[in-house]
């Protein structure tokens, strides 16, 4: 009988560990390719047989190339808000996001109930950086997800076509950090639209940065008075791998897979699944630790 108790405890433990969710928060400037990323990832996962659900958190979104599992526009839409409350696009967006925050414990929880068991969600977010830096809306949303046992990772997209020289690269790192420090989450930076990049000769310098060479180039491009700042920023790039970017070419399966595995690693996707399987074996296989 003792073995049954232990088994039931283990089974219970397995079930508890199994109700873990995984989430990507996809952010980045307008036009960086967030929605395209979400649909490519969704298609890729379908191909390899992984379950993935895409959630639209952008109340201003129009067209979707992916099936949407959860949509903020069912709760509130920017168009309606702007019309009914006479707000402009900024005010309207803020209103929508604050409305979402107010609905965390009802609408959001209700929707999340469908996705608790080892499920993987991708949140397609609005582009406005103000939502990350100035108001706690998205931070609170993330905290709520974490309370529901979701491991969350931020995926920051930047259009690779903008990174034409080292000053733009540093600029990209800074704007990514600007969002990163507010969200306090594991963070993956992606240089998107590599497929559209015509001159790929320089981009490797930024994907695999050599701080010393880049610093020399930076000092050339910036006025001499920035020498100390250049050095400090470049040191940070060298020291903190999280500041670095990984490339994404949506035409290439292996590029998408690489990005996905980096993110999986950040949110420890796959580790919990192992535990879950082991417990099930113990439950159905052995007669218990006594025998």
């Amino acid at each position: 009988m003792a073995s049954c108790d232990i088994l039931s405890v283990l089974f219970g433990l397995g079930v508890w560990l199994a109700t873990m969710g995984y989430a990507q928060l996809v952010i980045g400037p307008a036009g960086s390719g967030k929605s395209t990323y979400c649909s490519s990832l969704y298609e890729h996962c379908e191909t390899v047989g992984r379950t993935m659900h895409v959630v639209n958190l952008d109340p201003a979104a129009e067209i979707f190339n992916y099936p949407v599992a959860m949509d903020i526009r069912e709760l509130v839409s920017l168009e309606d808000v702007m019309e009914e409350l006479g707000l402009g696009p900024n005010g309207g967006l803020m209103y929508c996001m604050e409305y979402l925050e107010d609905s965390l414990h009802d609408w959001v929880d209700e929707e999340l109930e469908n996705y608790r068991d080892d499920d993987y969600l991708i949140f397609d977010c609005p582009g406005q950086i103000e939502l990350f830096t100035h108001v706690p809306v998205l931070k609170n949303f993330v905290a709520h997800l974490q309370q529901k046992n979701f491991n969350v990772c931020v995926v920051y997209l930047l259009d690779s076509q903008f990174i034409t020289d080292v000053t733009k690269f540093i600029s990209g790192c800074m704007s990514s950090l600007s969002a990163m420090i507010q969200l306090e989450l594991p963070h993956v930076n992606i240089l998107s639209k590599m497929d559209l990049l015509q001159d790929k000769s320089n981009i490797d310098d930024y994907l695999d940065p050599n701080p010393r060479t880049l610093l020399a180039e930076l000092n050339k491009r910036m006025s001499p008075r920035f020498a100390k700042l250049n050095k400090a920023l470049m040191e940070m790039v060298g020291e903190y791998a999280m500041v670095n970017f990984i490339p994404l070419d949506i035409r290439k399966e292996r590029s998408i897979q690489y990005v996905l595995s980096q993110i999986d690693f950040c949110i420890q996707f796959g580790e919990e699944a192992d535990v879950k399987i082991k417990d099930e074996d113990e439950d159905f296989g052995d007669d218990g630790p006594d025998s």
Binding site: H134, T167, I181, Q182, E184, Y240
Partner: protein, 330 residues
């Protein structure tokens, strides 16, 4: 050319080709550097949505009027409903944001971005209008779209900024929402973003701590002056990865030493004199460093700049094509 006259898909495609062609003609010639004028000083006002850019600009305009400086106003926000001031050149006169949204079937963000793109194709006209009046003007005040990234991370934003910067001393003013930045993390986040703008534009940056009538910006000055004070505030505020935050605050310390900061209040009018002093000093800095560098790089980098602009035009063309594709799939 009025982009709003035509309608229909085929016309749109035709229009987008025309736009790209006119954009091709937007060449910031090497010769424009020799037409370089020390006046007027271009002040591009950027900031997070809600930081008070438009109110601040309004106050700047009042101040130039009161102090008998000659100001010229350019509004680049296509979606603003009403401005408290009259703009000499207003994007809304040329591009109707709501029409753009309807005609090209875009959401509000796409609409603003496309409106800015359309306006950028005419920007050579704007620059020549200002050039013609250069002797009669002291400052050109530029209001940017509400959402900062529409200007800072867009091809058209870059084109507009560089069109100015290669012809006139151009200063970027980053408006900070002071009351919202009293938390050390939000402050740091804001400063990192300002740093990102500095590196993107490579132009002198002036931080305008706005809304000082609500919250005094003294704390900001303290934090910028002494990074240990800032680090102490940071540690007491949260449990974030101390090492990254500390590295960042050290880097930011170097950043603060390369920019000017003023506390202003658009409502009360405080800080205006300080602001314009900072602008004048930045313009001097512009002439010493950026302009000198500009001349030096002119010969070497002319080809490089043309190629890059070509890429941005290509990107614009592709953006337009995507819109056409989206139209087609509907």
């Amino acid at each position: 050319m009025d982009p709003m006259e035509s309608s229909g898909e085929e016309n749109f495609e035709e229009e987008s080709h025309k736009l790209v062609d006119s954009l091709d003609k937007l060449r910031v010639d090497a010769s424009s550097s020799s037409n370089f004028k020390k006046k007027p000083i271009i002040i591009i006002v950027v900031g997070m949505a809600g930081s008070g850019k438009t109110s601040f600009l309004n106050r700047l305009i009042c101040h130039t009027f009161d102090s008998k400086s000659r100001g010229y106003v350019l509004n680049l926000d296509p979606a603003v409903m009403s401005l408290p001031f009259g703009a000499n050149i207003d994007i809304r006169d040329t591009v109707k944001y709501k029409e753009v949204m309807k005609q090209y079937n875009l959401g509000p963000n796409g609409g603003i971005l496309t409106s800015l793109n359309l306006f950028a194709t005419k920007f050579d006209e704007v620059v020549s209008v200002i050039e013609k009046r250069a002797d009669q003007l002291d400052y050109v005040l530029v209001d940017t779209p509400g959402q900062i990234e529409i200007f800072t991370w867009s091809a058209s934003g870059a084109i507009i900024t560089e069109a100015f910067a290669s012809t006139f001393p151009t200063i970027v003013t980053y408006v900070v929402d002071t009351p919202r930045s009293t938390s050390p993390i939000t402050f740091m986040s804001n400063m990192l973003y300002a740093c990102s703008i500095l590196y993107k534009t490579r132009l002198p940056l002036v931080l305008a701590f706005n809304k000082t009538d609500v919250a005094d910006h003294k704390f900001a000055l303290e934090w910028m002056d002494d990074f240990e004070v800032f680090q102490a505030a940071l540690q007491s505020d949260n449990t974030y990865t101390a090492t990254l935050a500390n590295s960042l605050s050290l880097a930011l310390f170097e950043f603060y030493r390369n920019i000017r900061s003023v506390g202003v209040s658009a409502i009360s009018g405080a800080g205006m004199d300080d602001f314009f002093k900072a602008i004048e000093a930045s313009a001097e800095e512009y002439m010493e460093t950026y302009k000198a560098d500009l001349d030096k790089r002119k010969a070497e980098k002319e080809q490089f700049e043309e190629e890059r602009r070509g890429k941005e035009m290509e990107k614009l063309r592709k953006d337009m094509e995507n819109i056409v594709c989206n139209l087609r799939t509907l």
